[in-house]
C-alpha cells in the first residue's frame, strides 16, 4: 500500500540566539493515506505546526530540517530545491492558516486572491478559475457564491473569511491540505458551520488533510486518525475511535480528562450574608461620542443588572462582540458607565476608576486575557509582584520579598522564577504571574476576563483548579468571563448568558442542560462534544441559527 504522505524519523532543529541548537522535533514518523484526514494534536510548543509546515518543505526562520524524510506523493520535500518546492506548494500541498484575517490582503478583492494560485502556476485560464472558485464557494456553503468574490476581506465575517481561505487552498486541486488551527479563533456557533463546510468538501473531493489543533473535540468531528504530540515527539497514534475510547498514553488521557468538565463541588456553603458583594443595576456603557440623551453612540452593554454573593462565582458567557469584556471593564472603572449603579461591598462606587479610593480599587482586581500584554515585558516577575505590595500595603523590602515567595507558592510557581522576565515564561506561567499580581492586592473580588482562552486545554484545566483552590483558602469571589461553556460550568455558581449587549438569561449550572432562552439553547448546543458523530447528528433549528448568526 502506497501512502500519500510518509514522514520518517523527522528531525527539526532550531538555533537559539546564543548559538545553541535545540531539537524541536525529535524523530517523528507517521503516514497519511489518500483521502485521509489526520489530526496533529498537542499543547503549544509541541511542534504540531512545525511538522505541518515540513509537509511543504518549509521551516520557520531560525529552524532547519536536520534529518529524516518527508515524502509527499513520492517527492521528498526535504531534499527538493526551493524552486521545486515552490512548484509543489499551492498545487499539490496547500495551507489554511489560523487567522484568515491576517492571511488576506485587505487591498484587493477576495476573488483575485482566491484565483492567484492558478495564475502563479498557470494551471487554468482566469475565466475557468473564476468559475471553479464560484463552485467552491457554493460547496463551502458561502452566501451569495456568485458575487462574494467581488467583496474585500473586511466586508465578510470571520467564519466566511476562514472558508474563503479554504477555497484559496482548494482551487489548485491539491492532494493534501494543511489546516492550521482554522477554527480556534472562531465562535462556537460559527465553528460548526466552518467545520461542516470543510468536512463535506474534503470528503467529496477525496482530499487528504492534516488538521492541526489543540481542541480534541473539534478534531474528533473531522479526523480519521489522531497523532498526539508532546515536546516534539509522538506520544500516541491511533484512529479517532481508539484515541477517544481507549487512550493508552498518560498524556492522551490527561488531554481527555481536561476536556471533561469537573462539576464544582457542592456549591461552597453559600454564606448568603445580608448584602451581596457586588450588585449592578441597569448598567449602560459603550463607546463613541455622547449623544443628546447622555448615552454613548455605540452601546456595548445595555441595561445589565447582576449580583455576586460573597464567596460565590458568577460566570458571564457569550460570543465575541456580545459586550462581556466591556461589562468587565465598566465594573472595573476602566470604561466609565453612562448610566447605572455599581454597589460593591455596601458602598456605591464611582463610575470611573479615578473617582474610587485606593482601598476600593484594591478590593476589586481584574485579570486580563492575554498575559503577554498584561505583564510589563521590561520588568522581572519580582518587580511586577512587588509593586502592588508597596502601593497598597506599603511593605518594606523584607516583607515584600517574603510575600512574593508566598504568592509564588500560592500560584504554584517555583520561587526562583522571580528573577525572570515575562518573555522567558511559558503561557501558563505568565497567566499565573498575572493572577498572582491580582492576589497581591488582597482583593475580595477578581474579574477574570477570558483568562484561560489563550491557554491549552491541559494548562487551562490546571489554572481553573488553582482558582478553585485559592477560593477555598482565601474566600474570594470571581466574575468569570468566557466564551467556553465547559470552563464556566466547572467554576461558577451562577451563569449569565449575554447576547448583543444584553443579559438574555441567568441560570445555575444544574439547569445548564435545559436553558430556556432560544439563544442559550443555540449556544450550548454548539459546543463540540468528544463524540465523532456529534457534528453529523447535530440538528439545530435553521430559523434560530439565522436569527442569531447574522454576523
Amino acid at each position: 500500500m502506497v501512502n500519500l504522505v510518509e514522514i520518517r524519523d523527522l528531525k527539526v532543529e532550531a538555533t537559539t540566539d546564543s548559538g545553541r541548537r535545540v531539537e524541536i522535533i525529535n524523530g517523528v514518523s507517521f503516514d497519511i493515506a489518500e483521502g485521509e484526514i489526520v489530526a496533529l494534536i498537542g499543547e503549544s510548543g509541541s511542534g504540531k505546526t512545525t511538522i505541518a509546515l515540513t509537509l511543504m518543505g518549509h521551516a520557520r526562520p531560525g529552524c532547519r530540517i536536520s534529518g529524516g524524510s518527508v515524502s509527499v506523493a513520492g517527492k521528498d520535500m526535504v531534499t527538493l530545491s526551493e524552486k521545486q518546492r515552490a512548484r509543489v506548494r499551492g498545487t499539490e500541498v496547500t495551507y489554511v492558516p489560523q487567522s484568515a484575517a491576517a492571511a488576506f490582503n485587505p487591498a484587493t478583492t477576495i476573488m483575485d486572491q482566491v484565483i492567484e494560485v492558478t495564475r502563479i502556476h498557470g494551471i487554468m485560464s482566469s475565466d475557468e478559475a473564476r468559475a471553479r472558485a464560484v463552485d467552491l464557494f457554493r460547496a463551502l456553503s458561502l452566501p451569495e457564491p456568485e458575487t462574494i468574490g467581488r467583496r474585500y476581506p473586511h466586508q465578510v465575517s470571520g467564519g466566511q473569511l476562514q472558508r474563503l481561505s479554504a477555497a484559496m487552498a482548494l482551487i489548485g486541486d491539491p492532494k493534501l491540505v494543511i489546516f492550521d488551527e482554522p477554527t480556534t479563533a472562531l465562535d462556537v456557533t460559527t465553528q460548526i458551520e466552518v467545520l461542516r463546510a470543510f468536512k463535506s468538501v474534503m470528503k467529496k473531493g477525496g482530499i487528504a488533510g492534516v488538521y492541526v489543533s489543540h481542541d480534541l473535540a473539534v478534531v474528533a468531528q473531522i479526523a480519521d486518525r489522531i497523532v498526539v504530540l508532546k515536546g516534539g515527539e509522538t506520544k500516541e497514534i491511533g484512529t479517532t475511535e481508539e484515541i477517544l475510547n481507549g487512550a493508552k498514553h498518560p498524556y492522551t488521557r490527561e488531554l481527555l480528562a481536561a476536556f471533561e468538565p469537573k462539576p464544582r463541588g457542592a456549591a461552597g456553603a453559600a454564606e448568603s450574608g445580608p448584602a451581596p458583594l457586588l450588585e449592578i443595576e441597569n448598567l449602560i456603557a459603550g463607546y463613541g461620542q455622547v449623544q443628546a440623551d447622555g448615552l454613548p453612540l455605540v452601546r456595548a452593554v445595555e441595561h445589565v443588572s447582576l449580583k455576586v454573593e460573597k464567596g460565590r462565582n458568577l460566570g458571564i458567557i457569550g460570543e465575541s462582540g456580545c459586550g462581556k469584556s466591556t461589562l468587565a471593564r465598566t465594573i472595573a472603572g476602566i470604561l466609565p458607565a453612562a448610566v447605572g449603579k455599581i454597589v460593591f461591598d455596601g458602598k456605591e462606587l464611582g463610575r470611573s476608576a479615578r473617582e474610587r479610593s485606593r482601598d476600593e480599587l484594591r478590593e476589586m482586581q481584574i485579570v486580563f486575557q492575554y498575559a503577554d500584554t498584561a505583564l510589563n515585558p521590561a520588568k522581572s516577575v519580582e518587580d511586577i509582584l512587588a509593586r502592588p505590595l508597596t502601593f497598597y500595603h506599603g511593605m518594606n523590602a523584607k516583607a515584600r520579598s517574603a510575600r512574593i515567595d508566598e504568592l509564588l507558592d500560592m500560584v504554584r510557581l517555583p520561587r526562583n522564577l522571580r528573577h525572570r522576565r515575562p518573555g522567558e515564561l511559558s503561557g501558563g506561567q505568565k497567566q499565573r504571574v498575572n493572577f498572582a499580581r491580582a492576589l497581591a492586592a488582597d482583593p475580595k473580588l477578581i474579574l477574570c476576563d477570558e483568562i484561560t482562552s489563550a491557554l491549552d486545554t491541559v494548562v487551562a484545566a490546571a489554572v481553573i483548579d488553582l482558582l478553585k483552590e485559592l477560593q477555598r483558602e482565601l474566600g474570594l469571589s470571581y466574575i468569570f468571563i468566557s466564551h467556553d461553556l465547559s470552563v464556566v460550568e466547572s467554576i461558577c455558581d451562577e451563569i449569565v448568558v449575554m447576547y448583543g449587549g444584553r443579559k438574555v438569561e441567568e441560570i445555575s449550572p444544574a439547569k445548564i442542560k435545559t436553558p430556556e432562552h432560544p439563544y442559550s439553547q443555540l449556544l450550548f448546543s454548539s459546543v463540540p462534544r468528544l463524540d465523532p458523530t456529534w457534528l453529523d447528528g447535530l440538528e439545530q433549528d435553521p430559523e434560530l441559527v439565522r436569527a442569531y448568526r447574522q454576523r
Partner: protein, 287 residues
Amino acid sequence: MTMTNSETKADRISGTRLGYRFNIIGMVGLSVILFWALIAIFAPLIIPYPVGEIVDLDYFGPMSRDFWLGSDYLGRDMLSRILMGARYTVGISLAAVTIACFSGVMLGMFAAVAGGWLDTVLSRFLDALNSIPSKLFGLVVVAAVGSSIPVLILTLSVIYIPGAYRFARALAVNINAMDFITVARIRGESTLYLIRSEILPNIVGPVLADLGIRFVFIVLLLSGLSFLGLGVQPPYADWGALVRENIGGLPFGAPAVMAPSFAIASLTISVNLLIDNLPKKIRDRSE
C-alpha cells in the same frame, strides 16, 4: 585544542559570557567614540603646540615629522587644533543632544499618557517648531543674541526637541495601549509612575538609538553653523570651523582641510555603527 581556544576567544570578544552579544562592528564604533571622548578630555595635556600660536613659517604645510597633520592657513599646528576642536564638537553636541532627548522624550511620554487636549496642544506647538528650517533657525538665533557656547547648546537642543518628542510619543502611544498600563492605571498609579516605571523601560532601546542619530545630526549642524562662521568663535575652533578656515587649502590638497573633515566623518560614522550594533541581551540562558 586550537578549536576550543579560538572558540573561547571568540566568546570573549563577542561578550557572550556576560549574557550580551556585541559584534565587532559595534565595538569598532564604540572604540572610535571612546577615543574621541578621551581626546576631548585630555586635549590640553597632549597637544604638541599651543592652539593659537603660529609655529610653521609655511602656510598649508604638508604632513611632516614636526607637524603630523600639516599646518593651517596661518601656519598653526593642525593636529593641536583638531585635538582641541574635539572638545567643542563632542562637548557641545553631547550637551545639546542630552538636553534635546531628555526634554523631548519626557514630553513625548507625558503627552502619550495624559492624552486629550494637553497632547493636542503640545503636539501642535512642537510641530510648529519643527516646521522652521533648522539652519535658518540657528542663523536667526545666533544673529540675534550672538554666538556663545551656552547659546549654541540651547539653540541646537531646541531644534532637535520636536523630533525626539515625536519619536518618543509614537513609541509611548503603542505601549500605552497595552493591558499592563491599564492594570497600573486602575491600581491608581500616578502619571509620573506610569512614565518612569511602565513606559520608559520598554522604549529605552529605540530611544537610545534615536539619541545616537540625533547626536550625529547635531554634530553636522554644529559643523555647518561653524562653517558659516556662526558657531564656535576664533581663536577657538571646532571641526566645522576648521574646515571653513582652511577651505582655501582645497586646491592645494592641503591636509589642513581634509583632516577635520575626516574627524567629523569618523565620529558620525562610528556613532551610527554603534547604534546599529548595540549589545543585545541573550534571552536563551538555559545552558
